[in-house]
Symmetry: C2
Subunit: 346 residues, 2 copies
């Protein structure tokens, strides 16, 4: 019997030392050739050093865990790539900086990997991080360091730093009655994509429009220019919509002790483009608009009469909260259920 | 039959919403009553804002994973408490800042928790973080924010920020032939404690001296004053010994392109105090001194003739690397095996 060549054995992280694995990751982070100007000291020492030109650093941290925040294998048949996970980790973190009206200067990344993780998956993740940072336009940001460890499930923690460039941060607490409520970016797209991934509609039967919604779940596209523009344009309050318009809007409302009133006609317009998913799944797309997270759009309030910065659309108004009411959200004056994503509640 | 009251059901994180769990954690981080002066904006918004008075931020990230970096249940019978894990997360991260010659200004914490994690364990973790920060003397540091998520195993990612207060960071790359090699803090203690935890010696049979070694594994005590003192005192190179004297020493040697020569008499002295563990386990304690990590002592080099800063002891010298040699470690001129901890190598 002729000898049949075996397929080349997949190289896993168990087959490499920590330094060998790092040596494969670092070049993909473009650290060799071009640090961002903000990175005064990059990887290779006990800590990195990042410029903070106005004497302040904006900082946030976020973790993505396998089978919680992404699945390697979805019911639809789609497999999340390392590239997807890297891009999404970049996008989520960059959005937190954006939501303060700041621009990102640096990321540090802590990876937890099961020993049987293919090295190629980790290389894809590094590529996705870099592509997310570059593709989303965070041109002053680069990965300045990190940490590798072993675990039973893949986990990606990213801490991101940013600068306000001397400006005043836009907090959640500054909305005032009479302000205009505005949105930059999209809502509901990533949730529609999630519903497609979790449906039994075979991934390879999806239309290009449906596939685009899946792509926005796996590789979200936060409007990074909008945050600093909102700050410069006089926004009174702002936050990242990561857990849904109603849920995050309620957070802003409570922080500011006001009521946000959404315009129902605008909500309907925001649902346009979701039909490729809602028709297939026989669902009301308005649910995704109101409760779907992960598009990482920005919800912001602006003083009345001010011209909204590029990228923002008015979607409602800020009202004083009635004496017998709690700060929250109404739709054309009627109370709205909160909904949205909670990590622990059943 | 009289009714026997059931023990009160243990409250787990699955029984609380994210905001309810945060409401239990925040007070334990002492965020309500006393922010550090460096925290310009604490938890509750999309990101925190930390002062960076000299226009630079030192940043590092580190993750502890259940059954990798700690075990809830050890072979000896000891159970790692949330307090232990919180303290160790604080200590490891503070040590990375210390090793640059900087002082910590802030931490952000990302917790991944299985749904059946007792809420009391998470509260203990918050207490341990706070106690570690305070107990180790990081008086300018506080927890400025974080993130909660769900997973199959407990994972604690901490990003820590620090300031160099206008000074020059001490890198790994600055050691020069003729420099004195010095150590602050201990080596081998945490490794001896680990060996006791992993032995079948019942935890409750340990002597107070043995128990102290276990405590240093679970709640390490990095010498936080020593880093900034070394910077001010002219250290030419420095790093945190987290993976062992030989392994981390080799990193410094390679970064600086020199050879570190250790004094064998000093190594023997460093092994003093390990007998309570080495006698019980019938081991040579020098192995722990050379290859044991997690005490988080500092290895630093100083120009010859300079007075070592308080806390540092000379343990060897910096030599030029011979033409036919690679930068690394020798003991009285003889090559030493590297050893120490690698996250992936078998």
């Amino acid at each position: 019997m002729p000898e049949i060549p075996l397929p080349e054995k997949t190289l896993t992280v168990a087959g490499l030392s920590e330094s060998d694995l790092l040596a494969r990751i670092f070049p993909r982070l473009e650290l060799d050739s071009r640090h961002s100007a903000a990175t005064l000291l990059g990887p290779g020492d006990d800590a990195a050093i990042i410029a903070a030109p106005d004497g302040r650093t904006v900082i946030s941290i976020d973790t993505q865990v396998q089978d919680q925040d992404f699945r390697l294998q979805w019911p639809s048949g789609y497999r999340s790539t390392g590239f997807d996970v890297g891009w999404k980790a970049a996008a989520q973190n960059l959005s937190d900086i954006n939501a303060m009206g700041a621009t990102a200067t640096s990321m540090v990344v802590s990876l937890t990997l099961p020993p049987d993780t293919p090295v190629s998956w980790v290389e894809d993740l590094a590529d996705g991080l870099t592509a997310g940072i570059r593709g989303l336009g965070a041109k002053d940001c680069s990965v300045a360091g990190g940490d590798l460890g072993r675990g039973r499930e893949i986990s990606v923690s990213v801490a991101v730093l940013g600068t306000l460039s001397g400006g005043t941060p836009v907090l959640r607490s500054g909305a005032r009655p009479g302000d205009v409520l505005a949105l930059a970016g999209t809502v509901g797209r990533a949730a529609a994509g999630l519903a497609l991934l979790e449906s039994d509609s075979a991934d390879d039967s999806l239309s290009p429009e449906q596939r685009k919604l899946v792509a926005l779940q796996c590789r979200p596209w936060p409007p990074l220019a909008a945050g600093p523009l909102a700050r410069a344009g006089g926004a009174t309050a702002m936050l990242d919509i990561s857990d849904g318009l109603l849920r995050d809007g309620t957070r802003l409302a409570r922080s500011s002790s006001i009521t946000l009133d959404l315009d129902p006609q605008t909500l309907k317009r925001l649902a346009e483009g979701l039909e490729p998913a809602s028709d297939l799944l026989n669902t009301d797309p308005l649910g995704w608009v109101l409760a779907g997270g992960e598009d990482h759009g920005l919800l912001a309030t602006f003083p009345p009469g001010i011209q909204l910065p590029p990228g923002f659309t008015a979607i409602g108004s800020v009202q004083a909260t009635g004496d017998s009411e709690s700060p929250g959200i109404t739709i054309a004056g009627h109370a709205a259920d909160t909904g949205g994503w909670d990590h622990f509640a059943d």
